[in-house]
Structures are given as structure tokens and as C-alpha cells.
Amino acid sequence: MASRAVTGGRLHRAEEVWGWLLASPYLLFALAFFVVPFVWALLLVFTEWDLISPQRQMVGLANFVEALMSPRVRAAFWTPFKFMAVFLPAVLVAAMAIALLVHSLGRWAGVVAVGFFMPYLASGVAMALVVQGILSYNSPLSDAFFWLMGDVPDWFGVPALAVVVIALMMAWKFSGYYALIFLAGLQSIPKELYEAAEIDGAGSWTSFWRITVPMLYPALYSVMVLAVGLMFGVFTEPYMLTGGGPDLATHTWHLEIYYQAFSSLRAGYASAIAILNALSVFVVLTVVRRAMEWWGRANGWT
């Protein structure tokens, strides 16, 4: 018995080494691109510095005070919630619809799934240019609006419309990606559950809400966390289409960080905003996770 235990201990240590070894690429990546920059940012927030000047002026908490008072930062705080109000329902419905469609196809499911996944791979800049072309005042779509209504919507001039356009654009980009997560969830639901429900007289609508949706809890959980987190990191679409306007309606955290760091060259102030951004993501994601876990428990997931 004693020799077995020793062997077992050696095996355990060997497994540990292998485990660390296999995880090391990710750990090194995270160390280089997340931990070190985060610590560096934590040091920078107390300075007024342009990244290159030999002098770094220590300013204490002044950067945080300025950020909290800034109308631009306050606008950036609210923008993710405005995007979320449009993006979440749109992307959840679209992704679920795609997943159900692909799941029902059988033989050609893979090809169709890749087709829906393509927008996720496309460059955000290219997509923004396409959307800009489609919605421009002298596009065929605008001509149609003009013919039907006598005017063309001011897509990027009205704050609410600009938010809707950008949120829907992102829903287009991400619905294929989230659909793959839903698809994996759908494939793991035992068919027996649907058969039993059918015997009990449940229709397809009831089966969807009483079986499919609750059984997709792990997938929904992942998608919700990814989608909500995404709203706090939006950059390319408003950068290309609205510049954060009109009236800061689409001004995001990352636009403000980019502007302060790379246009105004205020590394300390930009870092302070980045820390506030991280805090807001952390708080909101904690709330979302708790809510999802509560919903999961209510549906029998522990």
C-alpha cells in the first residue's frame, strides 16, 4: 500500500507539472498582456504623464476626480447600457433563431453555421464602411425612403437612431458567433425530454420555453456574460461611424480612453478612465452572473 501511495504521489506531481506546462502559454500571455499592463496602469493613474517625457508629475487622485466630473466619461458610462437595451434582445433572438435553424438542418448544418459565422470574422472597419454606404444619404435605400416618405432618416444625427444602428450592426456581427454556442447547447439536450413532453401533450412552443430555454442555461450564461462584457469594449463602430456623437450619444469607454491616451497623450488620465471602465464591467458582470445563477437555480441547475 505504501509503495502505491508513493507512486500515486509521484504521478500526481508529474500531472501537476504537465498541467502547468500545458497552461503556460496562456499564463504567459495573460501575464504579458493583462497582468503587467494592469499593474502598470495602476501605477500610472496617480501621474500626469505623456508616455515619453522624462518628468512624471504625481497628481494623487486628481485623475479620478477629473474623470468622475467629466461629461465625456459620464456619457461613456451610460452608453453601454443604451447599447445593451437594443443589442441584447436583438442578438439573443437572432442567435437563437440561427441555432435552431442550423440544428434542424442536419446534413448541411456545418456549411450554414460557417456562413452565419462569417460576419464575426469580418473586419469591423470594413463592416462600418458597408453600413455607412448603405445608410448614406444618396444610397438606394435612402432613395427608397425618400420615395416612400419624402425624407430620409438622419441615421447618425439623431442620438437614439445612432445607438440603434450601432447596436444592430454589432448584433449582425455577433449573432453567428453566439449561435454556435447555442448550437452546442442544443445538441446536448437529450431527445427523450422532448419525447416525454410530447407524450404529455406539450406543443412545440411549450417545449421551447419549458425545455429548450432552461436546458440552454450554460450556453445562455456564457452568451450573456460575453454580450454584456462586449458592450463595455465597443470602439470600432462608433469610431468609424459617429465619432461618439451626436451629443456623445455613442461615446464609449474605449473611445474616451483612446482619445485621452493617443490624441491628448494623457497616459495617467486615460489609465484612470480604464480602471473606472474595468470597475464598471466588474460590477455589471457580477450582477448579470448573480441574476443568471438565480435563474439557473430556479430551473434546477445547481
Binding site: G133, T242, G243, F262, S264
Partner: protein, 423 residues
Amino acid sequence: MAVLLAGIGVGSSAPSAAAVEATFWSAPNPTQEVFWREMAQAFMRERPDIRIDVRAMVESPSSEATILTAIAGGTAPAGSENIFIGFGAQLYESGALVPLDTLPGWDQIIRARGMEEAIEGWRFPDGHFYILPIYSNAMLFGWRIDVLRELGYAEPPRTYSEVFAVGQRLRQARPRSFLMARAELLDPTWWQRWFDFFMLYYAASQGAPFVVGQDVTADREAAVGVFRFYQELNRRNLILTRTSTDPFPTGLSIWADIGPWTFPDWKERFPEMRLGETFALSPPPVPDGYPAGEPIRTFADAKGLVLYAQAPKEQRDAVWEFIRWVFTRPESDLRWLEATSLPPVRGDLATSPVFSGYLRQHPELVPYAEALPYAVPPFASHRVTDVQTALGEAGLVPAVRGTKTPEQAWEDARAAMETVLRR
């Protein structure tokens, strides 16, 4: 052995063992990169003791960010181009640049390019010059002269009132056309102000300095007048502030700010755009009562080159030798013009026989060459981005929207800009 190798030519094109190697970054624009590579090749044939490695700077997320990152990481090149005076001021504040006028041959370059007057706009607060301007796009406005003729005008309007009159007649004749299509009038992105506010401001104020040190020194009457002009255009529904595709060449609008970089694109996509037939170029419109015959100033989108203090001295000296070689030869500026279509900063661009052949073949560049002496580069402040963002957010954008009177917009913008400058 050496004799044998020399005899068969081995090593004849290789750098000498003692050659100094230095890196020079060109703008992330293929035509500029081609120019600098050609120049470096020609220079190195004459100076085998110097190796100039030309690389295009990366533009991710911006060329300015790339330069900053390189300086912060200790990997700055010996020199680079693509520096506008505002970013130069930011680098100057951080002690990152070399004062070029302390280097041998500076005066020789200034004389050779006839830049004695133009260079004054590039002087820094300590009296030195840290940027050698290479090109200057004296920004002009394009007018669809074919449409103007249809409307009964022989030439572009000169004053604000004349512009309104053209607009009114245009809307009557073509209800779906606009005088100007510029969605950027409502975009507070700082550099957009160069092409709407500053073009008109420098014209109206006859080039009055906008910012000096920490003070907004702008001509109030001219600035308020520009706000009022744009507000009135919008109120009369003469400008389209929504996104549109190629509005000027397609005739959706008949008036647009045009830089010389536009013409290669038009040549490819809109060959029907020909000077005198479909479009004309003119300086910015001026307030009513502007003295007749007085030249009209405009904004100059101008950039130059710098040497970085961080690079070893021998490398900086090597690049400076290269720069001297390039810019004391007028044919270099001709080659620059041919390669990039960007007017070099030369006092004799419109008059020298060196350039006359090229300008005859490209008459659309002649108005730019003629406007060079009246073009004002961006103001030199390390807070340029914040100042111009404040100008847009608190001033021009609300003025265009009509949510503030021109006077209120100016007072708010001025206060916001001074707050930024004194931070």
C-alpha cells in the same frame, strides 16, 4: 585577395565596414514611402559611408501613437516625416526632438527652398525650429462650376452673402441638391476643424493667430462670423449634415473643401472631374466687406520631418546629411511632387522653371502653389487636440445645430479652450 575580389566586383555595392546605419520612418502612405526609398538609394550611391534604412511607420492605432510607443520603448528611429506642428509641439514639450536650426546646413536648406518667410510659422516658443516642413496643402474649396454656370454664375462666390445667394438659387433649381455636404460639421473630432472652421477663420481674420502659449488670441469677430455663417447655412437647409457618398463628384453638393490628394482618386473614379469644366478651385469665402483685391488666406495642412533626440548622435547626423542632400536639390522636390501630388514648401513653387513643366501637365495644382504664401499652418500647441475638440464640442457643433447663438457658442468654446490650455 582583396585585389582579386575588387577585380571581380565582389563587394562593390556592399556597405563599407565603417558605414553608419540609421533608420528613417516615412509616412504610412505608399507614394511617400516610394519617394524616400528612391532618395535613400540615390544618396547611398554617393555616400557609401552612410546606410539609410527607410521604413513606413505603422498607423495602428495612429502614426502619432506609433511614434510615442517607439520613443517610450527606446526604439525611436533617427528621424521621421509626417509630423504636423501640433504633434511636434507635444514632442517638443517632452524634449524628444532635436533643434534642427542648430545643425550645420539648416540655413542652406531654407535658402535653397526659398522658405525664409514660410518657416517663421514653424518657430517654437524657445525660438528654435524643430520641424523642417516638407509639404503644405493650402486648402481650397472646390465648386461645381458646371452647376454654377447652369445657375447663371460665371465664377465661384467670394463673400458669405454671395454664397447664400448661390445656395438659394441652387435649392430652387435642384431641390435635392445641397450647397455643401459635410456630416463632419456635427462631429467633434478635433482635426475636422481644420477643414471647416480654420479655413474660414484664417480667411476672415487675415491669418490672425488662434492660440499663443496658454491664451486664446483669436479674432473674436472672425470666429463668431464663421459660426454664424455655418449656422445660417444650416438654418436655410443649404448644408447636408448626414453621411453621404462622394457628394461633390456626384453632384449631390456643389461646394467642398478639396486637398490636392483628392485628384489621383478622381482621376481613377471620376475622370469627368476636370478643372474649368466640371469644377473650379477658390479660396475660402470671406465676410461681406472684405477688402477687394486683398489676398485671401486659408489653412495649410502641412507636415514636416524631425530628428529624435533619443537616437545616437552619429545616426542623427547621418540622417541629417541625407536630409540636407535631399532638400538642397530642387529636383528632389520635383520628384516629391510627381510621386505624391503634395505641394512642397517652396517659395518658388509657382514660378521656378523646375516645376513649371509638371504644373502645366497638372493645372489643378497651380491654385495650390499660388495659395502657398497665404496658407497658415496649424497653431503650435501641445494641447492642440484638446483645444480643437473643445472648439467643436462647445462651439461649432452647437452653433451649426442652432442650439446656441454664435456669440454664446464662441464664449463657451473660448472658455473651454482656455481651461484646456491652462490645465
